[in-house]
């Protein structure tokens, strides 16, 4: 292992700092630079996707058609979903992984640094292509982020081809990023660090990376079939030619369900790092946390059809997918109980990362519970395609995935920048976000149960009050993210010098490194002492 590390370092000997100028960012193979680029890209996409959410919520502020025409409204819901899933959440976690995984396992860099550069630089092109569809004749894709056939084939706007290639490119990027993480974790851990001594964040990303490698090719396959149906007269999803549109949903959700765990498992890892630090205790039940991650990942492959209970399925199939789905609540429950047990009788303090982590545990659990309601096949017939579903997945994605990323950024920002962020601004960001998101998404449960369908630009009068609340909450949540942007810029520009270990009792290899962090770290691997 040590020999391996030395050979990797060889070509770096003559350059000790980053190159100068803009080209540094184009040619960089440094995991810290690439991590930064991923995180900035994710933030930009988060703000663009957020502006689309603004359009949606502005239209839904009052019943009746107010601002945009229904076709454009559909383009907004579609692009909002695609941008947030593929542009904001996934690159955000890859950014955290790029920064943290080498630091946490004592590796000098990622295992495949040039591929790392490539996997990042594909993304701006993929998303430029996706966003350019908004300006094309016929408009952007408006068939929903799930792009069900035949809406996305027979009835799609011509821009669908650009959408397909954008998906292909971001898929290639994700696969390369995931492969890099697996190879790093398998081959470049510091001597003495076994798999079962890895930090929980590294474990969560190892599992996530395997999910990515397994299902992103299936997504590539399904969009390739769409491409062939549209341009090469095949009939994978066209009933007229002997195909089956329901087949599309099966293949899509075979990708789609593991995908939702791809977006949440790294967040599990982040809060599993943060909660022990601010509870001043070891993580409760390390082994059970690892096994729970593995169990969730395996189960995610056999539950996809709970997204499509209403397409017509034999009763045996419905029961299988219902019970398998509910089974996921068991390992997820193990994780939630372990976080609570870690906090139990700890000496807690609530700095900003901890506030986001605790909110994650509480609000992710709310989203988990509505997930169990949706898993019940007979009642899902009522909930299907209502705002209840929208409330559910926003509760697991916003205070789940997004809070996970934000908590990680607050936690590690002092190490990355060498500067301390402004704690009172951070707390303000947290409380505005917390109030804003609950005001936005909680009323959606009520209107959903009362029958308001999702993906509509207009609605019946009885839903007006809750929708106005949700819109006001959305404006509050959205604008409060500008506090975060300001905070990060302020930290980088004029933050106070941070201590080497800014958090009392933070553990892990990343805190053994000096602050500010040198450009190259762990060029000689650290020695892990077994206690």
């Amino acid at each position: 292992m040590s020999e391996q590390t030395l050979t990797l370092d060889d070509h770096d000997h003559h350059e000790h700092g980053p190159a100068k100028g803009f080209l540094r960012w184009v040619f960089t193979t440094n995991h810290k630079d690439i991590g930064t680029m991923y995180l900035i890209f994710s933030l930009v996409m988060f703000l663009i996707g957020g502006m689309m959410a603004f359009v949606i919520r502005a239209e839904l502020f009052q019943p009746g058609m107010q601002l945009v025409d229904p076709g454009f409204f559909n383009q907004m819901t579609t692009m909002h979903g695609l941008i947030m899933v593929f542009g904001a959440v996934m690159p955000g976690f890859v950014g955290l992984a790029n920064w943290q995984i080498p630091l946490m396992v004592g590796a000098p860099d990622m295992a495949l640094p040039r591929m790392n550069n490539w996997s990042f630089w594909i993304l701006p092109f993929a998303f430029t292509m996706l966003l350019s569809t908004l300006f094309m004749e016929g408009g952007a894709p408006g068939f929903g982020w799930t792009f069900y056939a035949p809406l996305s084939t027979t009835y799609a706007p011509p821009s669908v081809t650009f959408f397909i290639f954008a998906i292909h490119m971001m898929g290639i990027s994700s696969i390369m990023g995931a492969m890099n993480i697996i190879v790093t974790l398998f081959n470049m851990r510091a001597p003495g660090m076994g798999l079962m001594q890895m930090p929980m964040f590294a474990w969560s990303w190892l599992i996530t990376a395997f999910l990515l490698v397994a299902v992103m090719p299936v997504l590539a396959a399904v969009v390739t079939m769409m491409l062939m149906d549209i341009h090469f007269a095949t009939s994978f999803f066209s009933a007229a030619g002997g195909g089956d549109p329901v087949l599309f949903q099966h293949i899509f959700w075979f990708f789609g369900h593991p995908e939702v765990y791809i977006m949440i498992l790294p967040a599990f890892g982040v809060v599993s790092e943060i909660i022990p630090t601010f509870s001043r205790k070891k993580l409760f039940g390390y082994h059970s946390m690892v096994y729970a991650l593995i169990a969730i990942a395996l189960l995610s492959f056999v539950v996809w059809a709970h997204h499509m209970f209403t397409v017509g399925m034999p009763i045996g199939g419905q029961l299988f997918f219902m019970y398998a789905t509910m089974l996921i609540a068991v390992p997820t429950g193990v994780k939630v109980f372990n976080w609570v047990a870690t906090m139990f009788k700890g000496s807690l303090t609530f700095e900003t990362p901890m506030l986001f982590a605790v909110a994650f545990v509480v609000l992710f659990t709310v989203g988990g519970f509505s997930g169990i309601m949706l898993a019940i096949a007979p009642v899902d017939f009522q909930y299907q395609d209502t705002y209840f579903v929208v409330a559910h997945f926003h509760y697991v994605l916003v205070p789940g995935a997004v809070f996970g990323i934000v908590a990680g950024v607050y936690y590690w920002l002092p190490k990355w920048t060498g500067k301390m962020y402004d704690e009172s601004l951070g707390k303000m960001h947290f409380w505005l976000s917390f109030v804003g998101l609950n005001l936005t998404f909680f009323p959606m449960h009520f209107v959903g149960l009362a029958g308001m369908p999702r993906r509509i630009p207009d609605y019946a009068l009885q839903f007006a009050d809750f929708n106005m609340m949700a819109s006001m909450g959305a404006f509050l949540f959205g604008t409060s993210q500008l506090v975060f942007v300001y905070l990060v810029i302020k930290t980088v520009r004029s933050g106070k010098e941070a201590a080497q270990v800014p958090w009392e009792s933070a553990e892990g290899l990343e805190w053994t490194l000096p602050t500010p962090l040198p450009y190259h770290t762990f060029t000689t691997p650290p020695v892990i002492e077994h206690k």
């Binding site: 391996q4 050979t7 990797l8 295992a111 495949l112 027979t154 011509p158 696969i175 492969m179 697996i182 190879v183 398998f186 081959n187 490698v213 397994a214 299902v215 992103m216 090719p217 299936v218 997504l219 590539a220 396959a221 399904v222 390739t224 079939m225 549209i230 341009h231 007269a233 009939s235 994978f236 066209s238 009933a239 007229a240 030619g241 002997g242 089956d244 329901v246 087949l247 099966h250 293949i251 075979f254 017509g312 399925m313 034999p314 199939g317």
Partner: protein, 186 residues
């Protein structure tokens, strides 16, 4: 540098891409075995029950049609409902008329409800096995010959056979642009 991990991962990626496509035939096989989606098998070539094997069990067959995408053609079953004995060979016809003033090609796609009955409804002869080219204004009676398997599970006494008619002129004509929707001029 140990390259076995990245090699293995590349193989996994390629396999999973292939698996995505393998899901297509797998899904067909799965649907045929379980009758999922009311999908029926192709032309029946099994033994027909004869004489003493024909049981007196009576089943009601219902015939319904749908026209995809508001196709303005005439399309209707000439028998809406009939009683058949299981194992008995039956014939019926469907009337279709092309109301366009151009020639067109149609394709009918079957579906059976309840889906548990799908694998017991055998089609010996069916217009749905072929595409139907029709001249402008041409009308034809399209034949269907079927038999209900005596093995039909107890408790099913009514089978609905539905045909959806698709206009596939665009996808059969060479070098057609799929985004140009055919204009209806009747």
């Amino acid at each position: 540098m140990n390259l076995s991990t990245p090699r293995g991962l590349v193989v996994l990626v390629v396999l999973m891409f292939g698996f995505g496509f393998a899901l297509v035939p797998l899904y067909d096989v799965f649907c045929e075995i379980t009758g999922l989606n009311g999908k029926t098998a192709g032309q029946y070539e099994g033994e027909l029950a004869s004489g003493e094997n024909i049981q007196s069990r009576q089943v009601t067959m219902q015939f319904i049609v749908n026209k995809n995408d508001n196709l303005p053609w005439e399309f209707k079953p000439n028998d809406v409902q009939m009683k058949v004995a299981t194992g008995e060979r039956k014939d019926t016809t469907y009337r279709v008329r092309n109301t366009y003033n151009t020639a067109a090609v149609a394709q009918a796609v079957p579906s059976v409800s309840p889906s548990a009955a799908a694998e017991y409804l055998h089609k010996i002869e069916c217009f749905c096995f072929e595409q139907q080219p029709l001249e402008a204004g041409q009308a034809v009676d399209m034949p269907l010959t079927f038999v209900v398997d005596p093995e039909l599970p107890e408790g099913i006494d009514k089978i609905t056979l539905s045909y959806t008619l698709f206009d596939i002129t665009n996808s059969t004509a060479p070098a057609s642009d799929p985004h140009k929707v055919k204009k209806v001029d009747n």
